[in-house]
């Protein structure tokens, strides 16, 4: 019986599969294979793909039913949260990774789990289109590695409120030290992966300077049970750091939210910084101790000390973990890249995201360090597995070889080929890690899971009814329109420099306002 999908459904799905393959290949081969003497990284990555394969179809349907993917994208691009370039972009990758390995093991056919596959891909595509709506791309590589997530109403505020620095001054020094400590902390809390960080931009600012928006995420007591207690002194779960740089061109802001700059990023080229917090419950960005450079420097110094202590405490705890605990933590970080979608939708359940599915658990005996490493290398770098091989005439992007990372969906399911629908309901799960016990750190305070979900379901951001006017195409022809002013004032509500200034400002106006405010 033909599958209940159209030819167009499959055309779009397979184009997205190929886009994902090529994006992931470039990212994986330019960002290098991950390794760690502490964590068995590649074994946990491989296992996370299985966990995604078996759990995401149902979990994403649950989220989509509560809040459509494109609505989550609309909300998420207004804040710095774990729904970001990297996590949204990884939806097809991790899920198709599980499928590809199972295909190579002969445990699946390309015609299996068709409804699941199309559902996950459709969700991922809608989310990415919406999150990247302002620059009208699906992922940053479509834009030559650029991710201009914000419209002018937001970038004006971020530029206007940034606090000026000069190399060696108190804020400049505090900021540099803080970023180093926060980076080490984020890599450790996320078990050696970069998911704690996301960058978007660049955005052009006065004098040819470029502004990069840098998110640092899940810093406090949050979804990760291993951060209970050890991160109790960290006040904000998410921080968004705005940097304005001179003599620096961010030539790459990629599909993993990583950046490269020409010349290389150098703190001595830092012109101004801003720090904000936000999440699924906040109405945009909330400034953090930005009333003065002195105040922000003192805050960053204090936070750095707390993060240094938390890093030492977390490291000692992790160093005492068993291999199974390290594997579980790492794989749950990876398969949890979609977890904040559930927070936005108000349907987050800890057991959905922080248990390893029994169907994933069974693969653990295979996952020694060497097999894990070679499996990931073949899957995402060498493209050398049998299941990835195409015809003798095939030339893949970047390498001209015969391997393609992810296998598409055969069109035969539209005719009379046999197929299966999906993996079925989520089965039991388990974890070797301690159960989460602390409250969740949010912009509305410390909350229980139930409170967090309830507030998310009740939350309607200011300006939400005007969201379809929030694009620069429309704004170009409607400066001063009451709807535009209302939207701009939402972004300006917590601005020390542009509060209530509305939608008619140009760059010179922003600079005058900055100067008047002593920034």
């Amino acid at each position: 019986m033909p599958a209940n999908h159209s030819h167009l459904d499959l055309l779009e799905a397979n184009a997205y599969v190929r886009k994902a393959s090529e994006s992931f290949f470039w990212q994986c081969t330019t960002r290098t294979v991950q390794e760690s003497k502490l964590f068995p990284v590649n074994p946990y990555i491989a296992l996370s793909y299985f966990n995604a394969w078996y759990r995401w179809p149902e979990l994403l349907r649950k989220i989509d039913a509560a809040m459509p993917a494109e609505e989550i994208g609309d909300r998420a691009r207004q804040v710095g949260s774990y729904v970001s370039t990297i996590t949204a972009g990884l939806i097809p990758q991790f899920y198709l990774g599980g499928r590809q390995i199972l295909l190579d093991m002969g445990m699946l056919k390309p015609t299996d789990a068709i409804d699941d596959i199309l559902s996950v891909l459709d969700f991922g595509r809608r989310l990415n289109l919406s999150y990247h709506r302002s620059h009208a791309h699906v992922i940053p590589s479509d834009a030559g590695h650029r991710a201009q997530v914000h419209t002018e109403r937001q970038t004006q505020v971020l530029e206007a409120d940034a606090l000026g620095v000069t190399p060696g001054d108190k804020l400049h020094t505090a900021f540099g030290r803080f970023m180093a400590t926060a980076s080490a902390y984020g890599f450790l809390s996320h078990c050696e992966c970069r998911l704690s960080f996301n960058n978007h931009g660049p955005y052009m600012t006065k004098g040819g300077h470029e502004m990069l928006v840098r998110d640092m995420l899940d810093l406090a007591e949050c979804d990760y049970p291993w951060m209970d207690g050890v991160a109790s002194e960290i006040e904000h779960n998410n921080l968004t750091v705005v940097v304005i740089m001179k003599d620096t061109h961010f030539n790459i802001v990629d599909d993993w939210g990583s950046f490269e700059a020409t010349p290389a990023y150098d703190n001595d080229n830092l012109v101004a910084v801003g720090v904000y917090t936000s999440d699924h419950l906040s109405d945009g960005y909330i400034p953090v101790h930005m009333d003065s450079a002195e105040e922000l420097a003192d805050y960053l110094d204090d936070l750095r000390e707390k993060m240094t202590d938390a890093t030492a405490g977390m490291w000692k705890m992790m160093a005492g973990w068993s291999r199974d605990q390290m594997i579980d933590a790492g794989l749950l970080v990876y398969s949890g890249v979609t977890k904040d979608l559930a927070h936005f939708a108000g349907v987050y359940e800890q057991t959905d995201w922080f248990e390893v599915d029994e169907q994933c658990q069974r693969f653990k005996p295979l996952m020694n360090d060497e097999y894990g490493g070679m499996l990931i290398a073949e899957t995402v770098g060498l493209l050398s597995m049998s299941s990835q091989n195409h015809s003798e005439h095939h030339m893949t992007k970047f390498t001209d070889a015969r391997g393609e990372m992810w296998t598409g969906v055969p069109y035969s399911i539209l005719a009379d080929d046999e197929w299966t629908s999906g993996v079925g309901p989520i089965g039991p799960g388990s974890t070797s890690l301690p159960t989460k016990s602390a409250l969740w750190t949010t912009t509305r305070g410390k909350l229980t899971q139930e409170e967090n979900n309830r507030l998310a379901r009740e939350f309607k951001p200011a300006g939400w009814d005007l969201r379809h006017y929030d694009d620069d195409w429309w704004l170009k022809n409607h400066p001063g329109d009451p709807r535009a002013d209302d939207l701009y004032k939402v972004a300006q509500a917590s601005s020390a420099v542009l509060r209530d200034r509305g939608s008619t400002l140009l760059e010179d106006d922003v600079q005058q306002a900055r100067a008047a405010a002593g920034r």
Binding site: S36, E192, A312, M326, R362, Y371, G373, E378, E418
Partner: protein
Amino acid sequence: MTDTVAAGGVTPYPDKWARPSGTPIVEAYHTAIRKIVAERLAASGRTWEEAVQDKSLQLTREDFEKVEAELLSTGYRFQMSAVVSLQEEPDKYAAPAERADSGAQDSDEQGRPIVGTGDNVFKARADVEGTARFVSDVERVMEMLTEGVPEGTIAVIDDSGGTLTAPILGDFAAVICMGGTVRSHLGILTREYSVPCLMAAELDGLSEGDAIVVEYSKPAADAYADAATAKAQRARIIKLS
């Protein structure tokens, strides 16, 4: 139909363009798993679509344990990456490789032995002189975390990750990393800390406690350079005593 036995052994369904995997261990494991699936499918008498959804036919943890046991029974031993893997299951892993020492090191302009080279993460203001100290396991990090990192430590680190040395990374005078690239996590972190760092270092005759000078003032390595350019731009590690 293609003869799939020549490339991948017994398989549950045809594959016109089958080929051996790129690495021996993936080939061994996946060939073994395909064989189990094919045999179970044949014995079931079910169609593929029926069988793939039948929980009673699915491969189990015990099946995968057998796959691993079969490979180990040939004498094969795995290469370790994380220290905990070797510690928990020493019988399954090969002993880590010894540190290289050819005894035939080149000399620099002053006749001092060149004991390694690496890709410079960023151009430091000056070269760094210090003491090479290998930081390869949790115990060494714990010791340095508890007692402090000795002054002038140039940490020699096996892997390019940022987690093993996370709590003490900012206390090193400099880092030499034997893995990764300038874009690896350790490269990112050392740049943030302004701790000079070489990545993808190749060592020959460097020992614990050696006094060394490292050319961190060389320009940062170009990650996109061709092989010849990349080799020419590598910074040297020179033994002083």
